[in-house]
Amino acid sequence: MISNVRFNKYSLYILLTAFFFLIFNHYTFALEMSSKRDCVVCHIEWMEDFRTDQETLVEFPSGNVLMKDTQGVVSSEEICYSCHDGYVMESRHITWTYNRHPVFVKPSKNITVPIDLPLSVKDEIYCGTCHSAHGKGAAAQHGDPTGRTSVFREVNIDSSLCEKCHRNEASFKFSNGHPVHTKALELPVKLFELGAKPASEKNKVVCQSCHKVHGAKGNKILIVDNRNSDLCSLCHEKQKSLVDTKHDLRTTLPDEKNIKKQQLSDSGPCSACHTPHNAAGNRLWARPIKEGNPASQMCLTCHGENTDYKTKRIGEYSHPINAKLASDVKLSDELPLFSEDGAKNPKGNVQCFTCHDIHRWDPNSLINKGGKDVEGDSSNSFLRLANDSSILCLKCHTDKEQLATSDHNLAVTAPEEKNVQGFTPLVSGPCGVCHIPHNAVSNRLWAKKISSDKDTASQLCTGCHNSNGAAKAKLLGDNYHAVGVTLDKFNITTTLPLFDNEGNKTADGKIACLTCHDPHTWDPINPVQNYTSENVEGDAGNSFLRKSNSPSSDLCKTCHKEKAFVDGTDHDMNITGPEAKNLLGQTVRESGQCGVCHLVHNSPNNMKLWGRAYGKITGDEDLIDSLCNGCHSSDGIAKTKIPAIASHPEERLINNVLRSDRQSLDFSPIFDKITGAEVNVGNISCPSCHNAHQWSPLVKEKGVNKNLEGNATNSFLRNVSYNNICIDCHGLDAIFRYKYFHDPNERVEPPASLIKFIE
């Protein structure tokens, strides 16, 4: 049809014009494309020429789609991927696999995005917030050592780009965050194999040590899946031993959440107690924590008495924390001490963490994890050292070391004995038989049942030393040294410990077994080197006494200072009767000076805990005199010192109320004739005038270590004053009568019937 068309010159002109217009227009379009081509490799949206009314193979979004307050649209993720899919640059495994930094979300309230890192038009983080092909490192090579890269807006030296927004995390010291820029630990090679970015210095921790902005395999853009805390344990390998123990709360408290409401199944076992950023306190603590030393309070968060957690409690009686070690005790690094801020400090105090490594159930085995229902004992229980030999206890309690080589090591002497936890000594360790660090029965971390809250300190001993106890072979007998009494009424002071009813040491406390005995030390002077047999029979030099009591009775003298003047006198058997034996068959070297005459335990005699055979007395004689004439008799060891006349006439009873004050110079006790107890009304007996413990009433000193012949100024007389008991009846004449009391020739003639001679 067109062939039939006839054109005039005008129409031909118009047609040619239209033809050239088309050609020219198309040519212009091609030039535009060519000049912009390199830009459009990424910025396809910039290419206005592509936005034609023809159907294109791509859809063009309208307007400024991404960057806020800038000249226009920038490249999209799709355009990035079209090169970074391996065919221009390989980033599939990094950027488009696993997790990446959140984009197209508004920054959280903890984040402050600086103005030079732009947000999108919706004030959201987007790729271009961090990335720009035209950033400060545009010319840099990949892996540029100065931190420049071709795609970051800013240099990124040691995660400096991250820290521009994450300032809180960067200021870790103020925000209780995981340290960055520290080189405290050696970072494992594996960390970098898994995707960590090496910092400018070896072992330096930076954000990208743990986080990977693209291609992160874990939540929170961690380089690996950390739901089992695998990332944490890469560096903190030792703590990995926590997994599957009771402290792996996935086992014991699976629904527990930390302060960030993170569930263990999502955030891993470490997260139960630690969170890497914005923690509650030191050590990245992720649980509520009370005031106090973090090295203990972290434990007490769950194990304290006033918590809601259904976990093991330490109980009312628990090992003290914040305790200062004795000055002579030095701990090695294996048992750390802590300063107030919870940091390890060799000069610090004892805290829970001193004994416990809460990440490891069994100090001797990484395999033994214990488990949810396994009851721990002294060999595990998150202790830093296995304690089934009480090694851990003895690291600090060095003064208790001798217990193991004594009969109080029940592993030897009573292996079947059990503490309140039901553990035998072989399980609990020698210390654990009597003491448990937590949930003890009473003070002193006592691990035995006690019958009452009275005289607790003595019950610690009688718990075993009773007729049904483990130490039933070593009982106190019916007559034993007073316990449960205070010293004030005796006007005695002592450096030995006294105890209140709860067993606390107190200056005005009562005498208890522990006053004289240190149950941890068999021999206070000579530690036992070779403890090979059990049930050793002791003497006054050992027997768990706090002080050696033989041959000098130093222990007794600590309290009975007035009796100490017997030392070196004729009544010191070291001087006058070294071979003499008490009822236990002990010589003075074995029994000590006091023990020659007094038996602290198991004395058959109630009177003065007499440890020797009573002397013979007739029915009308004072029992108290039998203490003296046991020796001062014809077959006694003091047979050379027998008074011719030894008794006072019993014409009338003597009232010595005014002379019963022991502190009085003219103290003259009167004794019950039958029982020998001190009374106010009675007759004169030997001790009325004699103080067997002091040679001379004028000299409060020890003897001279010689067997002396005495006179009326010494001879163990109580006093030589003009106001002695004799005066009460005999007037001043008594001074003369007093001198000749034992002399039948010189003394004033008493009725013959009243004169009795000692046989």
């Binding site: 034609t52 791509v58 696999t97």
Partner: protein, 305 residues
Amino acid sequence: MLPFLVQLILIIVVLFLPASSFAIECINTKFLFDIKPGANQPSDIALDSKGNIYLVDGVNSRIIVVNDNGGWKFSFGSEGTEKGQFKLPLGIDISDSGKVFIADTGNSRIQVFDSEGNFLYMFTVKAGHGEAPSEPVDVAASNLNNFLYVSDNNNHKIKVYKQNGTYDFEWGGFGETSGEFRYPGIMTLNEYNEIFIVDVLNTRVQKFDPFGKHIVSIGSWGVLQGHLFRPKGVALGKKNRVFISDSYMGVIQAFTDLGRFLGVICENNRIKKFKSPVGIIADKNDRLLVVEMRGNAISVLKILE
């Protein structure tokens, strides 16, 4: 002589003729099924003589083998540098003899396996003097002259080896002129051993004779039909059709082997969009298998026209 009004109408028609000529030319297909064997951003695909499909699952460092219906057969490879291990491989081809050639991109080498995935041998794609480390992204095994073409997109060259790994010759280099490349990628050979090479950032597919002599470039830059923006895959079909995938535009277009645009792959006369299509292949049953990198799938289509 026509009245002036008729002439004016004719002129207007002529003026609008180009616009009407840009109506989409469709080559209709029918979607058959997707194969989703658990790959992560797979890249390339090859068929063996039995019709089994070998898929490069590079991010997972393995090759997945499924049957022609997508049924799982086996996989081989793991991450690493040892024999039989891969580091982000991208390309694959299978020779008529059944050897499976893998462009082990991250390890700068070619690994050769039998059809069961057993390792046979490997060789390094060496960088020449002054060159960057090689990054072989695809291989094409010639069945006529025993050549193995390797596209090294880090040096913008095609390196040619004997199939036993002996280096033979190379051509290319960075540039935009014919015979030069800006990131050569997936390749395919026709029955005459002429090779079609995707030239990614030059937005074209170049066709060469077996020895690297440029024959023709297919496609041009743009976003209209017949244009390429980010070409990735090339495959040959019946009727001398050259299928080219475009990963950004998400389309596949067909050209003649001399570069004339034929049409866009459509379904029901509407452009068929793919999720970042890369490697493609047409099988003997006129099926077009498209690797959708971001779809983690192989989309199987029946070519209807």
